[in-house]
């Protein structure tokens, strides 16, 4: 048995290299667990990795950890949850240096090779023709079996049995669609206000609303609109764990909307700023969700989520002010 964290190098100069190997290796979770056992819970609020690395973030993504000061590396060790965040950031933004790291690590090479075979088999089973019952079905073996069976041909299952028409998927889809249309029709009849939307999905608030990202506004107004949408968090104050988890998950879903949007009205540096901040907020929200799911008191978690969301609202409004000030100076 290896206690991975205890293999930390004696020489501080070798620490960046060692940490990079952990970040791109297969045992990061164990390293994090071991470091967490040694350092216990930090007394102060843990910053996000984006806060910790600050304006060296891009350099780290391009050149690796050697650009960081020893004090920053020490914080990664004493607050090991940051290593998971950093690994996620490297997955998203790591450049050539990290690509080299991923490729140099021998630990996951077997899994990569098995995955390649399995994907090839899956893709071979995909066809431009619509699925039909007479087509053969490729059955994948579980990973444990496939390790021993990579050289063997995929198992070919017998043709599926004839399914009665009333149990086929298209019938169910058609029936569902028909039911929805009927329901909409009935609702419209009784509402008497056909110009209003019929119903809004429970998650259609905040950044999930269809009009939450108003691309026709100037940048400061755009960021303020994002802040206003985020403030809708406070419109509901769930007190039970299930309701709170749902509310946090909905807000987190909004972060995905923001992360995947183009934000065309923003200049490149503001867009980069927004995405970096958004990733940090998403990580915080994931943490709150994990807390509520692991049994922490709902009101305590809600207070922590309130704080996160207040901070992100302040950050958005602050950035809006900065952009407006620059625009004023230029005009």
């Amino acid at each position: 048995m290896t206690l991975h964290a205890l293999e930390i190098p004696d020489e501080p100069s070798q620490l960046p290299d060692w940490l990079e190997r952990q970040l791109t290796g297969r045992d990061l979770a164990l390293v994090v667990a071991e470091l967490a056992a040694v350092h216990r819970a930090p007394a102060s609020v843990v910053p996000s990795v984006y806060d910790l690395v600050g304006n060296q973030f891009d350099a780290v993504m391009q050149s690796g950890l050697k650009v960081l000061a020893g004090s920053v590396l020490k914080q990664l060790l004493t607050q090991p949850g940051l290593l998971l965040e950093l690994q996620e950031a490297v997955f998203l933004h790591g450049g050539a240096h990290w690509e080299h790291r991923w490729r140099a690590g021998p630990q996951i090479e077997d899994s990569v090779a098995r995955g390649r075979d399995r994907l090839a088999t899956f893709l071979a089973s995909q066809s431009s023709e619509p699925a039909a019952d007479h087509r053969m079905t490729i059955v994948f073996r579980p990973a444990a079996e496939s390790a021993a069976a990579t050289a063997t041909a995929p198992v070919v299952a017998p043709p599926r049995r004839e399914v009665p028409w009333y149990r086929q998927a298209w019938v169910a889809s058609f029936a569902t669609a028909a039911a929805v249309l009927i329901a909409v029709f009935i609702v419209e009849q009784f509402r008497g206000r056909p110009d209003q939307p019929v119903a809004v999905a429970s998650a259609a608030w905040g950044w999930n609303k269809p009009d939450a990202l108003p691309n026709d506004l100037p940048p400061p107004a755009y960021l303020n609109a994002l802040a206003d949408a985020a403030a809708e968090w406070f419109n509901k104050r769930p007190e039970g764990p299930a309701d709170l988890a749902k509310r946090i998950a909905e807000f987190r879903q909004g972060c995905s909307v923001l992360l995947l949007a183009k934000h065309r009205v923003l200049a490149e540096q503001d867009r980069t700023w927004l995405l970096e901040r958004c990733r940090a907020w998403a990580t915080k929200l994931d943490g709150h969700l994990a807390s509520i799911e692991s049994g922490d008191a709902a009101l305590t978690v809600r207070a922590a989520a309130d704080e996160t969301i207040n901070k992100l609202i302040d950050a958005l409004r602050g950035r809006a002010k900065e952009i407006a000030a620059v625009q004023d100076r230029l005009s």
């Binding site: 970040l23 979770a29 071991e34 470091l35 996620e88 390649r116 995909q126 990973a143 995947l260 994990a290």
Partner: protein, 194 residues
């Protein structure tokens, strides 16, 4: 399934576009398969690394496979341009969350221990929890000087920083750390029943 050179020179987003727009012709599908293989070559390692820190080792390869199948199936309707890597990350994250919820439902159905936080925290599997708990207990059993030394070394401090503070000579500190390491390894092995 080596990808051909025309897909090899495309950006991730172009490859994603080829998969998304595969249409109904055999040629479109052939190119889409090549594009998917090329994306796999580029991103499988980092995706496996990301997943290995977040899912149980026994589930790793099945989850990895399922995510690539989702990529293939969802690209035509779910990818709207932009950064493919960010989209892949979202697919992976969502899959981990779905998997964790499903596992929780299954385990509740099988009357597992509800207090086991692994079911609610996809980022901390039971193996890591056990390692953490065992190591915590074993650290308690170390002599104070050894515990402080382990704490300092695993906090990134060098022997040059540690020795003057702890009043140790360099050779003494090295020996003490080596002994502490051995003791911890044996203790954690015993605690884990290995």
């Amino acid at each position: 399934m080596a990808a051909e050179s025309d897909t090899g020179t495309m950006s991730d987003e172009q490859l994603a576009g080829v998969i998304a727009g595969r249409g109904e012709t055999d040629e479109g599908w052939r190119l889409a398969r090549e594009a998917c293989s090329q994306l796999y070559v580029r991103h499988a390692r980092k995706l496996l690394g990301f997943l290995s820190a977040r899912v149980h080792r026994n589930d790793l390869e099945d989850i990895h496979q399922a995510i690539w199948e989702r990529v293939w199936n969802h690209l035509p309707t779910g990818f709207h341009g932009g950064n493919f890597r960010a989209w892949l990350h979202q697919i992976a994250r969502n899959y981990i969350i779905d998997h964790s919820r499903k596992k929780r439902a299954d385990e509740l159905a099988e009357d597992y221990d509800v207090a086991d936080s692994r079911v609610g925290r996809p980022d901390e599997a039971v193996v890591e929890q056990e390692r953490r708990a065992a190591l915590s207990r074993c650290l308690e059993r170390l002599a104070e000087s050894a515990r402080l030394l382990v704490n300092a070394r695993l906090g990134g401090e060098s022997y040059d920083e540690i020795c003057p503070r702890m009043g140790l000579k360099m050779a003494q500190a090295h020996k003490l750390f080596h002994q502490a390491k051995e003791q911890l390894r044996r203790c954690v092995e015993a605690e884990s029943g290995q």
